[in-house]
């Protein structure tokens, strides 16, 4: 289970384009490193990340080993109604994670 932090504005006007940022704690192991015994540390990166806003997919990222450890992503979306933005992701080891944040739409 990875830890993640989502940042969205505290509130938004209806129709406003808001900035969404997420940082996930994950080594994004590239598979090119060796452990102390000389064995390759297997590649294990978050390969897919999906963001759903009130259940509808608004953003999807296919990531590789070229993304830094503890991946950070920023994108925008139009605030339409109060609700949740939910991120879910899966890594090469099949480990899944998810995190949500509240979107508050005023006016």
């Amino acid at each position: 289970m990875s830890l993640a932090r989502i940042q969205v504005p505290a509130s938004a006007k209806r129709g406003e384009v808001i900035e969404v940022r997420i940082a996930i704690q994950h080594a994004m192991e590239a598979g090119f490193r060796y452990d102390n015994n000389g064995r390759t540390i297997p590649k294990n990166v978050i390969n897919t990340l999906v963001a759903r806003y009130n259940g509808t997919e608004v953003f999807r990222a296919e990531l590789g080993s070229g993304i830094s450890a503890n991946p950070y992503l920023q994108f925008f979306m139009t605030a339409e109604a109060s609700g949740d933005i939910e991120f879910s992701w899966v890594d090469d080891a099949g480990e899944r994670g998810s995190e949500r944040a509240a979107i508050v739409v005023v006016g």
Binding site: V17, S65, I67
Partner: protein, 149 residues
Amino acid sequence: MPTRRQFVHAAGTLAAASLLPLDVAAQSDPFAPLIADFTGGAPIKQGRVTLDIPELADNGNAVPLRVSVENDMSSASHVQRITILSEKNPRPVIGTFHLTPRNGRALISTRIRLNGAQRLMAIAQLSDGTYWSASADVIVTSSACWDES
């Protein structure tokens, strides 16, 4: 009836003609096969895409990168996909991002690993089927440690 000499000459010319363009393309543009994978052979135009990356990056393990596309993200014509390609990373496709009209603004940013100084390319696919691209060169003083170190 062609003589043997004529036949050998013709065969040699044919072979050279068919091999040479492929060879040259492979050597001069490491992006070519990656672009073909992404676009399926559709033509790419320069422009509309802005690729922001520091000219000089101290730490190749985390280089900030931002891609934006001149597009109003209306449902008629919006950015569907953005991909980021690296010239020298062992896995050259850094990431592909899928957008929808709900995004409202065609901009993504992240932090990437770079295996040395190189050129990066960002390609955006629009919903009207056109592809746009931008490139940027970046110098990395300390590469991401791909090799044992």
